[in-house]
Amino acid sequence: MGLNDATRAPVGAAPEPFAPDLSVRIGPLTLANPVGVASGTFGYGEEYAALLDLDALGAVYTKAVTVEPRAGNPAPRLAETPCGMLNSIGLANPGLVAFIRDKLPALRARRFRTVVNVAGAALDDYVRVVEEIEAAGGVDAYELNVSCPNVKSGGMAFGTDPALVALVTEAVRRATKRALVVKLSPNVTDIRETARAAEASGADAVSAINTLVGMAVDVKTRRPRLAMKTGGLSGPALRPVGVAAVYRISRAVKIPVIGLGGIATADDALEYLLAGADAVQVGTATFADPGAALRVLEGIEAWMRQNRVARVADIKGLLIE
C-alpha cells in the first residue's frame, strides 16, 4: 500500500489532506504511535518531564524493576566508545515495593502507555514483580528483561537459552492478560530461536535488541574502562546489528517486533520499520538529545505523509528486496 500511483493525488489537483494512522497494536494494547523510549535510558519518565512533552510518546519502557532494591554495579559504569557507549549499570533500581509506592502513581497519571521492564535473578522473581504490580492496579504492558548482559545470574542467562525464555514467558503469561513483550539479547548465535520461543510461550511481541557485550581498555592505565570489565554496547554503532536482527526475527515470527538499537533519527527508525519492525524504541540518543524520541516521531509521520502510507504496519511491506 501507499507507494502505487493509485494513491497519489492527480497532477494539478490540490493535494488531498492525508493523515496517517500512527497507532500500533501490541496484543491487547494500542499504542498511540510507534515511538517509545527504551528501558534504562529514561528512568521512570518524570526525570525528563521538564525537557519534553512525555505524553506525546507512544510508550515509556521503564527502568527495570526487580523484587529487591539493587544498588547496581561498582563504578565506573560508563565508557564512551566510537559512535556508542558501554554501560554496566547492573539494574540499579529501588525495588518492587518502592516502585509501586513511589513511581507507579505518577506513571498512572500519564497519558503515555507505561511498559514496565521486569528483571530478576530467578523465574519466581519475574512472576512476583508482575503479580504485585497487577495487584496494585497494573500498568499497560510488561517487557521481560531476559537479556541484560550486566548481571551475574538471571538476565542474559535466561535470554540466551530458548528453553529458559519459554519458561519465563509462560510463567509470566499466566500472571497477566496485559500485553507481554520479551526483550531479546543479540548475544546469541541465532536470535530467531529465542524469538520463536517467546512467541510459542505466549508473548504478544518481542523487542530487539538489547545491548551487545563489549569491552574497552584504557591503554594508559592498562585497566578495563568499566569496573565490571565488560558491559553493554549501545548507540549508533549498534544499529546495523539491530536492523539485521529485526529483519530476521520478523520473518520468523508472526507477533509484532519492536525495534531498538542506535535509533537517533527518523531515518534510523524507518530502517527498522522497513526491515520488519512494528514499533521502535529510542534509547541512548535521548542522552545526547532529550527530545530525540519526539523528533523521531515527527519524522516518521512526515515520511508517511510524504509517501502516503496509511498505517505504520504498512511500512514493513515497503522494503524492496
Binding site: G43, E47, Y48, R77, P82, M85, I89, F287
Partner: protein, 255 residues
C-alpha cells in the same frame, strides 16, 4: 532545567590546556548556583556521542552570561577548545545540587585542585556577594597549570604547586592541614580524587563539615540512567548528577 541553543561569546586560554568559555545564559534558563553544572553537546552526530558535563564557573544575571573553565582532555573538549565566538552551543542546565552556604560562625575554606577550579571560583564569588569572607586555596602540579588571571582578588588566597614553581611547594591538602586544628572550618572542595580523599581524612579527624563537588562520567545528567554512580562508605551509591555533584564529602568512598 532547560535545554537551550545559545552561543559562545568569547574564549580565552587561562593556563596550559585550560580555557575559559564565556557563553550566553538567558535569564529564562534559570540562575545556576555554585556547584551546579550544565551538559554540552560538542557537535551533532554520533561522535562524540554523549553530552559532556561542566560546572558553572560564574554567572552574571545582569549580562545574561555564564562561564565555564574546561580542560582539553579528549575529543569533545578538544573540539570545544577550537570553537570561535559566535559558535552555537547546545546546553542543558542548570543541573544537580550546588553548594549549601556555610553555617554562621564557621570559617569557609574553599579548596580547588586542577580543573576543579571552576565551581570553587563561583562559590567564592557567591560568598563575596553575600559578604561572607572565605579562604581560597588552589593546588596544581606546576605553575603552567594555574589559571592566575582567574584567581580571586583580596585576602586569603593561596596557591600551592607540587614542584614549588608558584606559591608554596606542596599540595592544597597540605595547606588545609596547616590550618589551626581548633578553627571552626567548613570545607568546600572540587578536585582530583587524591586531594578529595586527603581532605576527607582531615575533615573526619577534626570534625569539619566537608562539601565535596564530585566529577564522574555521565550519560543522561538528569538522574535517569544511574551511570554516574559515586560509591559511599556506608554502601550503595549516590548519583553525581542528581544527588550531587555536591555531596557530603565525609560519606563518599574516595579510594
Amino acid at each position: 532545567m532547560v535545554r537551550i541553543d545559545t552561543e559562545l561569546l568569547s574564549k580565552r586560554r587561562v593556563a596550559e590546556g585550560y580555557f575559559e568559555l564565556r557563553l550566553r545564559w538567558p535569564s529564562g534558563a534559570g540562575a545556576p548556583a555554585a556547584g551546579q553544572f550544565l551538559t554540552l553537546r560538542a557537535r551533532g552526530g554520533g561522535d562524540p556521542l554523549l553530552r559532556r558535563p561542566f560546572a558553572f564557573a560564574s554567572h552574571d544575571a545582569a549580562e545574561d552570561e555564564a562561564t565555564l573553565v574546561i580542560q582539553e582532555r579528549g575529543s569533545a573538549t578538544r573540539a570545544l577548545a577550537t570553537l570561535e565566538p559566535g559558535a552555537k552551543l547546545d546546553l542543558l542546565g542548570p543541573l544537580g545540587r550546588g553548594f549549601a552556604f556555610p553555617e554562621r560562625g564557621t570559617e569557609p575554606v574553599l579548596v580547588a585542585g586542577g580543573i576543579g577550579v571552576g565551581p570553587v571560583l563561583f562559590l567564592r564569588a557567591s560568598l563575596d556577594a553575600a559578604g561572607v569572607a572565605s579562604r581560597f586555596i588552589l593546588g596544581a602540579r606546576t605553575a603552567a597549570l594555574v589559571p592566575e588571571s582567574l584567581l580571586p582578588r583580596g585576602a586569603g588566597v593561596e596557591v600551592r604547586t607540587d614542584d614549588g614553581s608558584l606559591g608554596t611547594r606542596g599540595t592544597a591538602a597540605d595547606a588545609v592541614a596547616a590550618l589551626p586544628r581548633d578553627a571552626r572550618v567548613a570545607l568546600f572542595a572540587c578536585g582530583p580524587k587524591p586531594m578529595m580523599a586527603a581532605l576527607d581524612r582531615i575533615a573526619a579527624e577534626r570534625g569539619w563539615p566537608y562539601q565535596a563537588a564530585v566529577e564522574e562520567w555521565m550519560a543522561c545528567g538528569v538522574g535517569a540512567c544511574m551511570g554516574c554512580a559515586v560509591p559511599l562508605k556506608g554502601g550503595g551509591y549516590s548519583r553525581a548528577c542528581a544527588d550531587g555533584p555536591v555531596l557530603d564529602g565525609r560519606l563518599v568512598k574516595w579510594d
